[in-house]
Symmetry: C2
Subunit: 208 residues, 2 copies
């Protein structure tokens, strides 16, 4: 599936169509939560949005493009949250960084946990390589940058440490997100900062 098929067909120029697009997005999320990913049909979304099926195809070349836009929104807000946290953490000690980054990852994904779960399920049908690469590059760059600025540690290879930290954070938080187990979430919330800190401490040579 070519990536061009996943971009919006046209940007709404008039306020009427901006409202229509917003209604389509909202309806898609509602159908997703109410009926599940397999019952997310174009007709159902159109009906719920109060428009005709054809209208959807004025703004999205196909159904996948609509789903892609939902995923793009969600991942974009995660990357932005990480970037802002890293900006604020500049120059702080690594222990603070571990704590705060774990918090940001978990919060971003548990805030609307059902929506996030559903959106990840949709992603299976999409060609998400480009989008995921872009998002993880943003996250990795932000994390590597903040690690390099740490007040109390210098890393043998800050790129490796940043890469590894983002893999651990993404993987562990996504793993608990996929499960519907509050107990597992609490263990991760408590232990993941310790695990990150232990790794970073070991990957760094403390400054004199």
């Amino acid at each position: 599936m070519p990536s061009s098929s996943q971009e919006a067909r046209k940007t709404p120029k008039q306020s009427r169509s901006a409202v229509t697009v917003e209604a389509i997005f909202t309806a898609a999320i509602q159908v997703l939560l109410r009926d599940g990913p397999r019952r997310l049909t174009t007709t159902r979304v159109a009906t719920r949005a109060g428009v005709s099926v054809g209208t959807i195809y004025q703004y999205f070349p196909n159904k996948l493009a609509l789903l892609y836009a939902l995923l793009e929104r969600h991942l974009g807000s995660l990357a932005k949250a990480v970037e802002e946290a890293c900006e604020a953490l500049r120059g702080r000690p690594v222990l603070e960084m571990s704590d705060e980054l774990v918090r940001v990852f978990l919060d971003a994904r548990t805030a609307e946990i059902e929506t996030a779960r559903m959106i990840y399920l949709l992603a299976a049908d999409l060609d998400t390589d480009g989008l995921l690469t872009a998002i993880r590059d943003r996250i990795r760059t932000a994390i590597t940058g903040v690690l390099a600025s740490a007040a109390d540690a210098r890393f043998a290879c800050v790129d490796t440490a940043g890469h590894m930290l983002s893999v651990i954070l993404s993987g562990a938080t996504r793993t608990v997100l996929e499960r519907d187990d509050p107990g597992a979430l609490e263990i991760v919330r408590a232990q993941l900062p310790l695990a990150c800190a232990a790794y970073l401490t070991q990957a760094a040579q403390s400054k004199p």
Copy 2:
């Protein structure tokens, strides 16, 4: 979707039908690799397997049940590999455990990396809660057991440590599996044992 719809409709009693079921499985994987998950249709699988569409429905109540069986096979072999590794690691030091467990997770998932990737993509359409719970329980139990037997460490709370280690291993290996980036894979292969060991060392109080 009720879980009963994901079990095999009947077990093949005669050798002819055992061959048919195997042909359906093989064909499904071939179609998956060749045409991708969205083009995995029952007709396509039937044609490739050299049978009629109706034949598929003799052994699987619906298409999802067939996909579920594929996922079940794949995850079962991962859990088995982890259990066997843990059995062999009983009584060894924690550093050896970290190294070996990372190796097992990565090997199990990169051996047939394309197939594994495709099978995970399919999982989105399935009701996998029960299966995933069973698999992760097997993995967590095996890991907790082997940690408790470590020669050189005693854990403040071995259940917590086992839980956390399995989340990190599952998350990080799956995260690199999803990406098509050999560089990321190599970093994880080299650094994940260090991260696991650092966490375990910190979670344990060394014996005198």
